[in-house]
Subunit: 217 residues, 2 copies
DNA sequence: GATGATTTGTACGTATGTATA
DNA sequence: ATATACATACGTACAAATCAT
């Protein structure tokens, strides 16, 4: 899409969302209007609006007259979120298998190979964005933009709690193998297998996060 | 949940969202800050914040310096949204079949009976909220609050385009029959049947909307 | 439990960008 | 093409609620 002229509110919301997703601003942290205004060199107004927007997409919880904080979920809630994410991703994989055009499948293959290279290099910092891109590609090639939008929204809400997921080299390699099964199913157009493989992959990710995430304590 | 002390922004956002969902404010309508401020007897500030929040959940589209309007979707986009909604509802039905406790199932039965009564009375105005409640009940008894939240969000985004869905008495009766199949599957704990029946039901709804919705033109 | 400090909530004014003549 | 009108975007001031003492 064309790059719309960004307003200060947009810039602040985007930046904060990104930092929340990537754990720079962790769960439980207070979103202080005054200090954020100072940081972004604007008045409180656009900061307030950005925070308000983050609230409705679940990136902040509002407490009237007490400020907003980045939400902190219970383990049960996180399990719920992972299950939903797994199902949404599985659905995306199903759509990809059913509706992807050849160019889309090629794109997916490329994204997969980038993941594999990063995994073989053992470079977790490289693998993280490559993995994100891989999943995004699955959303895209299924040719249902709305599904992609909803799934990405869910994924991003879970993201702050997934930092530790690829901490081990072993997990990295397994993850790539799981991706491969998904890719093959999508290329073959086997919708059920694509969905099942993707669901299994996502649930593996969840169990690998285990009790380690600081947000779970 | 406890009724939190509401701020003006919250009240305005809730009211506007409700009106958009129920078609009082139709697709394409401009959300004018000044007139809304006058209507709600507040300054433009809380109105702005409410509109900003509506934007990020897809109830308004922002055009910097040009105001926000209630979005108007193409038929293709609507088809996408209906498909996603059908899948989410099917997933909710699956969860309901798998995880509902007896009290939950009883609650669903009651909600279904209220729908049936309204349908037999031929009262579309009564059926509409009863139907909404029926689906909400399915979300709830599946015991995954996050899934319920996401599904409701999707459902509400599609809602403005569904006004005409029960315009015929025949559709009303068919709808109840479809509900019945869903209810039975959930009560029997047959997850696959529950999901399949719910998906079919939702796709029927989509086709019954057909080309009639004013938003589609 | 009352009071002051702090932070958010709302009002309003001005600047800036967009659309139209 | 330039100017003008208009609505929004942002800044600032004040009111109200919460928290700390």
């Amino acid at each position: 899409m064309a790059t719309q002229k960004q307003t200060a509110t947009d810039r602040i919301r985007t930046t904060l969302a990104d930092e929340i997703v990537h754990g720079v601003i962790g769960p439980g942290v207070l979103l202080d209007e005054a200090s954020l205004a100072q940081r972004f060199q604007v008045s409180r107004t656009p900061v307030r609006e950005a925070i308000r927007q983050l609230e409705v997409i679940g990136f902040a919880t509002a407490r009237p007259h007490r400020g907003a904080v980045v939400p902190l979920f219970t383990p049960d809630k996180l399990t719920e979120m992972f299950l939903v994410m797994a199902e949404m991703e599985a659905l995306c994989a199903r759509y990809a298998a059913l509706y992807a055009v050849p160019e889309g499948k090629a794109k997916l293959k490329t994204a997969h190979e980038i993941c594999r290279d990063a995994a073989e290099a053992g470079d977790i910092e490289l693998y993280y964005p490559a993995n994100f891109r891989f999943h995004e590609t699955v959303y895209e090639i299924g040719r249902n933009e709305f599904l992609a939008e909803v799934t990405l929204g869910v994924r991003q809400r879970v993201a702050p709690f997934r930092k530790a997921q690829f901490r081990s080299f072993g997990r990295l390699k397994l993850s790539v193998e799981e991706h491969e099964r998904v890719v093959n199913a999508i290329i073959e157009g086997d919708a059920d297998a694509a969905a099942r493989n993707m669901r299994d992959h996502m649930l593996e990710v969840r169990s690998s996060v285990g009790e380690v995430s600081p947000a779970l304590r």
